[in-house]
Subunit: 344 residues, 2 copies
C-alpha cells in the first residue's frame, strides 16, 4: 500500500516527518512511502536515522509552501513545492491510496480541491477529525473543523451525510447519531445558519438526526457526528485543545508549588497522567481527513512529530480498508438523487 | 447597597439562590437583597436556613419563566414572573445597583433589552464573562458569548470598545490588549465577519488591537479582551467548559482504575485538585455581565449554587465601585462621535 507524505510541511519538518515515515515502513509490512521534498536533505535525515531499506522513495521538490504564503496562489505557482508534488502524485498514481501533510492548512485544503478534486456531487469537502471523549472506546466526528468558514445550510446537510457514511465505514456504527452544534440545545437557539440547517437535517431521511447540542456536550461521547460550519468547528476544537493545555500546565504548577505530599502524589500519578494524556491527546488521535475528495488526504497538526505522522499512516490504512471512498461515492450519489436540484 | 435577585431562575432555584442571598447579606455588611418569586416558598427557605435578619426583602412573583418559554414572549406576557419583577425593580428603583438571574439566558437577555434598556449609543449589548487563564492573577474577557448570535462587523467593533472600557474599569489595565477570535492567527484567515471586523478594529484609535487569535490561544492569558460574535463565543466558552469536565472525569476514572499507588497519589493530591478546580472553575469566576445596559445585570450559570450567587453579588459590588456605568457612558458617547454615522 503506497502512501505519499509531504516531508516539508509542519513545524518539525523534515526531521520528524521523515522519522515518522521510517517508523511506519518499519512497523507496517504492507506500507511503502513516497516522501516529497528536497532530496538531499531527506537523504541526510534517512542517513542519520540509519534507514537503508527500499520501502521509502524520494521525489525531489526543492520548494516549500509556508504558512505566510497565500494558499491558492502558492498551490498555483509553487509547482515545485513538496506539497504540490505530493498532491500531484496522490492524484495521478492509482496505486497511491492516501496522503499526509502537516503543512499550511489553507494550502492543503486549496490543493486538495484544485489538484486532487472533489468527488462527484460533493458541494464542499470538509475537515473531519475524531475528537476524544469521556469514554475510552468512543470518539466523536466533528465536521467541518476549518475548511468552510462561510458555510450555507445545504453544506451542513451534506457534512451530516458525509460524516454519517464515514463513521459507519470506519467504526461500523449502523445508525450514527448526528447532532448540530448550536449555542443551546433548544430548537429556538442558534444563529441564522443553524436554524436553516436544523430544518434541512430534521427532514433528511438518510441521517439519524438527534437535534442541537451546545459546546458543553462536545466531548460527552453521546453522539457520533457533530455537524457545524468550519469557523465554529475550528473554534470549538481549538478551544478544547487550549483548555487541555492550560489544565495540564496549571496542574503541573500546583503540584510543583504544593509541598512534599503533593510532589510525591505527582510522582505516584505519573503513569496515570501519561495515560490521561494519551486518552485526550489530539495528536494521538491522528490528523483530520479532508472528506469529499476523490482520494484520502489527511491534514496533520502543524506541530506533528514522528508519532503523529505514523498515526496518520495507520489512519489512512484504516480508511482505505473501510472502503470509504466507494461508500462515500454511492452515498453521495444517492443523497443527490433524493435532494434533487435544491442547490442549483 | 441594594441588589435584586431572581429567586426562581436556574436548576437549583429557589433553595440555592436563597442560600446564596443569605450568605451575601451575612458576609457583606453593606449589602441588602431583594428576592423576587413565590413569597411563601422563599419564606420557607429562609426559615429552613434560619435567617431572621432584616436585610432581605421579598417581592412576591407567583409566576416562573422556564427555558421552554419563548424568551421574548415570556418577557412580554409573564409580568408576574420572578424574572420580570426583578428586572422591573432594577429598572425603576434608583437605589438598586444591580441584578442577578440564573434563569433562561434568552429571557434574561430579552428582558435586559426590553425592560432595563440599552445605554445611549450602544448598538447591541453583549455577554462578557471573564475566563480563567494559565496565570492565576490574570483573567481574559470574552465578549460576546451568546447575546448576539448573528453579528455585524460594527457590533464587534463596539464589543471591543465596551470590553476595553470594562476591563480598564474593573482591572485597572491601562491599555487593554484586544484580539479578534478567528480560525488562525494570520490576517488572511477568518470568515467574512472576521475579515470585515478586523479592518474596523485595526483602524479604531480607541483600542489597542493586537490582531487575530485562534481557539488555541483562548486561555493563554496573553490578552485582555477577546472579541467575537455571540455564536462563536458561546461555542468557545462551552467547549472549554466541556473539556474541563471531561478532563476531570477521565482523571478520576484513571486514578480509580490505576492500582494502589495511583489511589494514594490521588489522595495526596486532593488539595491540589481542589485548588486546580478553584482556579479553572467557571462558576467561581462569577456570572456573565450583560454589558451595554443602563444598569448592571449579571447572567449567572444555569447550574448556579449558593456560592456562585454569592460570587455574583461580589461581582456586582466590584463593577459598581469601578464606576463602570459612568465610564461606559462616556466611552460610548466618545466612540460614537469618532465613528460618526457609519452604522446608519
Amino acid at each position: 500500500m503506497k502512501i505519499v507524505i509531504d516531508a516539508f510541511g509542519g513545524d518539525y519538518s523534515p526531521s520528524e516527518i521523515v522519522k515518522g515515515a521510517v517508523t511506519a515502513v518499519n512497523l507496517i509490512d504492507e506500507v511503502e512511502i513516497i516522501l516529497t521534498g528536497d532530496k538531499e536533505k531527506i537523504e541526510n535525515e534517512l542517513k542519520e536515522i540509519g534507514y537503508t531499506g527500499t520501502k521509502i522513495e524520494i521525489v525531489h521538490a526543492p520548494d516549500v509552501i509556508s504558512c505566510d504564503d497565500s494558499p491558492t496562489m502558492a498551490i498555483r505557482r509553487k509547482s515545485e513545492s513538496s506539497l504540490v508534488k505530493a498532491l500531484s502524485i496522490l492524484k495521478e498514481q492509482d496505486d497511491v491510496v492516501g496522503m499526509v501533510s502537516a503543512g499550511s492548512t489553507g494550502a492543503v485544503l486549496a490543493g486538495g480541491l484544485f489538484i486532487v478534486g472533489r468527488m462527484e456531487g460533493v458541494k464542499r469537502p470538509a475537515l473531519a477529525p475524531f475528537l476524544p471523549t469521556l469514554f475510552e472506546d468512543k470518539k466523536t466526528l466533528l465536521i467541518d473543523c476549518g475548511a468552510n468558514v462561510d458555510s450555507k445550510p445545504e453544506y451542513l446537510l451534506q457534512f451530516a451525510i458525509m460524516g454519517s457514511i464515514y463513521v459507519k465505514a470506519m467504526r461500523g456504527v449502523e445508525n450514527p447519531k448526528v447532532v448540530l452544534l448550536s449555542n443551546g440545545v433548544e430548537e429556538s437557539k442558534g444563529n441564522d445558519l443553524v436554524h436553516k440547517a436544523h430544518e434541512l437535517l430534521k427532514n433528511c431521511p438518510e441521517i439519524n438526526f438527534c437535534g442541537n447540542i451546545e459546546g458543553r456536550d462536545l466531548l460527552s461521547g453521546e453522539f457520533d457526528v457533530i455537524v457545524t460550519d468550519g469557523f465554529a468547528g475550528n473554534v470549538a476544537m481549538k478551544s478544547a485543545e487550549s483548555t487541555i493545555n492550560t489544565f495540564t500546565a496549571v496542574l503541573k504548577q500546583e503540584i510543583k508549588s504544593g509541598g512534599l505530599g503533593s510532589k510525591i502524589g505527582g510522582l505516584l500519578l505519573k503513569n496515570t497522567f501519561k495515560k490521561l494524556k494519551h486518552r485526550i491527546n489530539y495528536t494521538e488521535v491522528g490528523g483530520s481527513p479532508f472528506l469529499g475528495l476523490e482520494k484520502i488526504l489527511i491534514k496533520s497538526h502543524g506541530s506533528s512529530k514522528a508519532k503523529t505522522i505514523y498515526t496518520c499512516v495507520l489512519q489512512i490504512m484504516e480508511i482505505h480498508k473501510s472502503n470509504y471512498i466507494q461508500n462515500m461515492r454511492e452515498g453521495i450519489a444517492k443523497s443527490n438523487v433524493i435532494e434533487g436540484e435544491s442547490d442549483k
